[in-house]
């Protein structure tokens, strides 16, 4: 096996009820890479992200997913997370009465325990919170508030990237992290993601818009259509899609 291989998806099929949404996904992501997944609405982009994270809303009907060489599909949701898989939610969930600080401390310590490390000390944790919230210019006051409660759209997305910074994932899948952001928030969020990029981790960004990719420059751009990746190319593909839309690809590759 290629030691740099983080994620290897083979012929993945998944359904909700009796409706098949993923119809044979093949995808390989190596350490150090940035992948972008684009495609029209309803093509299965968010479903792919949810299935990889382990959502029980979808049933995997066939296919294989190896993550760091192990069978991802056999792992419970939290084990995937503790092993370094992070999902940036398209719609971050509000959790009233649960403070960001308390939530993050539990999350960071679960990961550390899993890695055989001691729980983080109080002062080190506070320093880490300050440092990581600065990456996305997240107002430090928000970290003492309840998770996502009363956050603006932009703050919620910044908060996702803040959590990503705290948890230092090996593989981050960012599901439409750019949707609903104004141009300043987009720049901050995208720059934050870029700062977190390292040779030993990888990012998969799901997006509708080329503008995010001005900041987060992808190595590979995939087009997902009707549950399959119908075309992959380099970053110039995103520009072409922005100008010409998806029809030329769909007409050529539809089944």
């Amino acid at each position: 096996m290629d030691n740099n291989m983080l994620l290897s998806v083979k012929n993945l099929h998944a359904s909700v009820g009796d409706k098949e949404i993923l119809r044979g996904i093949n995808l390989e992501v190596k350490a150090g890479e940035v992948h972008a997944i684009m495609g029209p609405n309803g093509s299965g982009k968010s479903t792919l992200a949810s299935v990889l994270a382990g959502s029980d809303k979808f049933t995997v009907t066939s296919g294989e997913v190896a993550y760091k060489g192990e069978n991802l599909l056999a792992m419970p949701i939290e084990e995937r997370a503790r092993r370094g898989l992070f999902l940036g939610f398209q719609y971050p969930v509000e959790i009233p009465g649960v403070s960001m600080a308390n939530f993050m401390k539990l999350a960071v310590n679960e990961k550390r325990t899993f890695e055989g490390k001691e729980p983080i000390g109080a002062s080190e944790f506070l320093r880490m919170m300050r440092e990581k919230s600065a990456i996305v210019e997240l107002d430090a006051k928000l970290t003492s508030r309840a998770v996502n409660e009363g956050f603006s759209g932009g703050e919620k997305k910044k908060n996702e990237i803040f959590q990503m910074a705290m948890l230092e994932p090996s593989l981050a899948i960012l599901d439409e992290t750019d949707s609903g952001l104004d141009i300043d928030a987009l720049r901050i969020v995208a720059t934050g993601v870029t700062k977190l990029h390292r040779p030993d981790n990888a990012t998969v960004v799901i997006t509708h818009y080329q503008r995010l990719l001005d900041y987060i420059v992808p190595d590979v751009v995939h087009v997902l259509y009707h549950g399959r990746i119908i075309y992959s190319g380099d970053k110039s593909l995103a520009l072409k899609l922005e100008k010409e839309g998806y029809d030329w690809l769909i007409n050529e590759y539809k089944d």
Binding site: A81, F86, V93, I95, G97, N102, F103, E110, L167
Partner: protein, 272 residues
């Protein structure tokens, strides 16, 4: 940390009832296991009052607020108490209540907004576990015009427990320009059962009144979100319930009591 310790440490000051006009109000007052007590809030100072039930008594509590007086009241039931709290509010007075039942008990609040401009805010929580039965009765009576009331009652029923909320907002014929809201939010866990009955009885025509009740289970989306960050399913569930409860607890204006309640709730939830 328990209540006796908070008293011994001088954080809370014991109070036996009567007028507050000559009472030292620099520290919050505490009434422990009252049977029958009348409190006259007739002072220009801010009053912080705590009532704690650790014994299964019957208790009758009368609290009257003179014009312009501001009171915060925290009532905590840690035993199978049967209590009735009657509050009468004069002109421009303000009463903010946090009521928490952590044991099967029966609490009735009767709040009379008796003069113009009185404001009442009550946030209540009951946590019924095992085969307990928690009851919260609330009647908020708008007797004159231009008074405001807010009520948020949250309930959790787990195990084979029952939690019951019966609420009434009464608006008298002369109580024009009443502004009243009453909400009941509940979670059922296991075979826990919730009965939520908010009611409005309105005899004036120029009013703003709303009420509502929801009964639900834990939000799957929030559980998924927390597990995606590495929390176990049990921890995610416990944290969500704690959060639901702490939303009420956090409204208490005494840090030591907030801490006491949060710890007591967390301990109770560990057993679920």
């Amino acid at each position: 940390m328990d209540i006796d310790k908070l008293i011994a440490d001088g954080i809370l000051r014991p109070f036996a009832g009567g007028s507050l006009s000559r009472t030292d109000l620099s520290r919050p007052l505490v009434v422990l296991n009252p049977r029958k007590i009348a409190i006259e809030a007739d002072t220009s100072e801010q009053v912080r009052l705590v009532i704690v039930h650790t014994e299964p008594n019957e208790a009758a509590i009368d609290l009257s607020l003179a014009a312009g007086v501001q009171v915060t009241l925290t009532e905590i039931c840690l035993a199978g108490t049967f209590t009735e709290v009657r509050i009468r509010q004069a002109e421009q007075s303000s009463c903010r209540i946090v009521a928490v039942q952590l044991h099967g008990a029966n609490t009735a609040y009767r709040i009379d907004l008796a003069e113009h401009g009185a404001e009442n805010d009550i946030a209540a929580l009951f946590l019924a576990t095992d085969s307990e039965h928690c009851v919260v009765n609330l009647s908020t009576n708008h007797l004159v015009s231009q008074c405001t009331s807010r009520a948020l009652v949250k309930g959790i029923a787990a195990g084979r427990a029952t939690g019951e909320f019966r609420g009434l907002v009464y608006v008298a014929p002369d109580a024009q320009q009443t502004d009243a809201q009453q909400q009941s939010r509940n979670i059922e866990l296991g075979e826990g059962h919730i009965i939520a009955m908010p009611q409005l009885e309105i005899y004036a025509d120029d009013v703003r009144c709303s009420h509502g009740a929801t009964v639900g289970q834990l939000a799957d989306e929030a559980i998924f979100y927390m597990r995606q960050r590495g929390l176990s399913e049990d921890d995610a569930r416990r944290l969500q319930i704690e959060g639901f409860a702490n939303d009420i607890v956090n409204r208490c204006d005494i840090a030591e009591i907030r801490e006491f309640l949060a710890t007591a709730i967390a301990e109770q939830l560990q057993k679920l």
